[in-house]
Amino acid sequence: MALESLLKQLAAVALCGPAEAGATATSHAARGSDAEVTVAPGRVVEAVQLLDAAGFMVEAITGVDWLAEQQMEVVYDFTLVATGERVVVRTRVPRAQPEVPTISRIYPGADWHEREAHDFFGIVFMGHPNLHPLLLPEDADFHPLRKDFGA
């Protein structure tokens, strides 16, 4: 499915999200991705289902702690296996209560990525089968990659 038609569908999902949501095409050379979609946390599963139908592969799930704006950002990188185009889905969640629905039902590969993001940032992925620490010791209750983590 051509990227543009996919973008229109994603835009539909994104538009009913918060104001600055929207699907914008970006140049691969500059940002390393062909399309960026900012979606509300609730709509992540819908956007991901669209991408799954289009044959995308989950590359990575990155958590970012924007301490200044008191927000956490979750960045999903998807790559189309056939052509190598990359679509990036972004969501912002309040830092105090970071909750994002899990996509491990659609992409089993995302299971570990989400557990890792939970380890480092404390982002709770609702509906995740087993969200206990993956890389950190079993009883770890600290989240090292948070900006206010006193390492």
Partner: protein, 372 residues
């Protein structure tokens, strides 16, 4: 199809393919729920070698993180440094001179051949054959000597810099590389005769550990694993970077998706890499190896970007967030073995222990690359 456990009896026992086991090639523990010799469930416990590289990326300046990149996937260290360096160059807008791009291709492809040779030896040991390991290590030593002559270290090269490479190629390296390419090409028929055509090896690998293209896509497995399942996804072709667009090479793909397919993909990749090295050597342009005015303390502008490199084990990606200071705001390192291992649980259900180890060996895992 390979034998699978039809009915799961009740007395299952947990066997620890422990953190210290000959077949895991590193500190990886797999909790196997065993029903007799068949595996009911395989839960991988990772994190034994976790050093929090991503936090180190945040509290070090960009240049000071360079030695860390070589310590993740130390068998193919060039690719990690290549990914990190290109991500920072993309953000900072540095242009790398032509000669440095070609040197990066030569050293990266030599490193890929060395990594595949090490994998070939280790994979054969997992299947019980000890002799091929010595032959592959004999070849690999040639590459390590070449790269040691060029960069000064054997494994964890810290050779690339932002904007180029740290020191230029000398004639000994160029002559040595050409001689190695010729010698390695002469050795390939011997490997095929000794291993590929061996009936015991084929019986151990054919139809063992089948991975479908859909499973690869769902789990994000890349590199020889996905190319062994019939999908021609190679980052050098999908998202061309460096000097790869000017060089012509094809991507070996095998549709069967079993251990033998992944084995054949890697052997053909060695031949392709040799072709790449030869072309790059022929077309090596003159000129500087470092961009002109690279600031000593690099401060890339605010923003984020993602850069993907085709490492020996799959696509190694770096997502870099910078806030204009001299340290990265957030550095995400996407390691290929992390996703490749995640599909082991689903693929090893119902397999025999010996076959599951053949599957684990064919995934070519480097544990520090998983744990970061």
């Amino acid at each position: 199809m390979s034998t699978t456990a039809q009915s799961l009896h009740e007395e299952m026992f947990v066997l620890n393919l422990g953190p210290q086991h000959p077949a895991t090639h590193g500190v990886l523990r797999i909790k196997l729920m065993m029903d007799g010799e068949y595996i009911a469930d395989a839960e991988s416990v990772i994190g034994y070698g976790h050093r929090m590289q991503e936090k180190m990326g945040e509290n070090r300046t960009y240049a000071k993180f360079l030695p860390n990149t070589g310590r993740m996937d130390y068998v193919a260290a060039m690719f990690n440094t290549h990914g990190y360096v290109c991500a920072v160059e993309k953000l900072a807008g540095l242009r790398v001179p032509e000669r440095a791009e070609y040197i990066r291709v030569i050293t990266a492809e030599l490193n890929r051949v060395a990594s595949h040779l090490l994998w070939l030896g280790a994979f054969l040991i997992d299947l019980g054959g000890f002799t091929p390991l010595l032959y592959t290590f004999d070849d690999r030593e040639q590459i390590l000597d070449l790269l040691e002559g060029l960069t000064g270290t054997r494994l964890t090269y810290c050779y690339y810099r932002f904007g180029g490479v740290c020191n230029d190629v000398d004639d000994a390296f160029l002559a040595g590389s050409r001689q190695f390419v010729a010698r390695m090409r002469a050795r390939m028929p011997m490997y095929h005769a000794l291993i590929t055509k061996n009936i015991i090896f084929r019986k151990r690998c054919e139809e063992i550990g089948p991975i479908t293209a859909e499973q690869c896509r769902k789990y994000g497995a890349t590199g020889p694993v996905i190319r062994g399942s019939g999908v021609a996804y190679d980052v050098r072709k999908a998202e061309p970077y460096g000097a790869y667009p000017q060089l012509d090479f094809n991507v070996p793909v095998y549709p069967q998706g079993d251990c033998l397919a992944r084995y054949m993909v890697r052997l053909d990749e060695i031949v392709e890499s040799l072709r790449l090295v030869e072309q790059a050597l022929d077309r090596l342009p003159g000129g500087p190896v470092m961009a002109e005015k690279v600031p000593r303390l690099l401060k890339p502008p605010k923003g984020d970007c993602y850069f993907n490199v085709e490492s020996a084990r799959g696509s190694f990606g770096v997502r870099l967030f910078s806030d204009g200071t001299d340290k990265a705001y957030r550095l995400k390192l996407r390691s290929p073995c992390f996703s490749n291992l995640s599909l082991f649980r689903e693929c090893s259900r119902g397999m025999l222990l010996a076959d599951a180890l053949a599957l684990l060996g064919s995934l070519d895992l480097i544990i520090p690359d998983i744990d970061r």
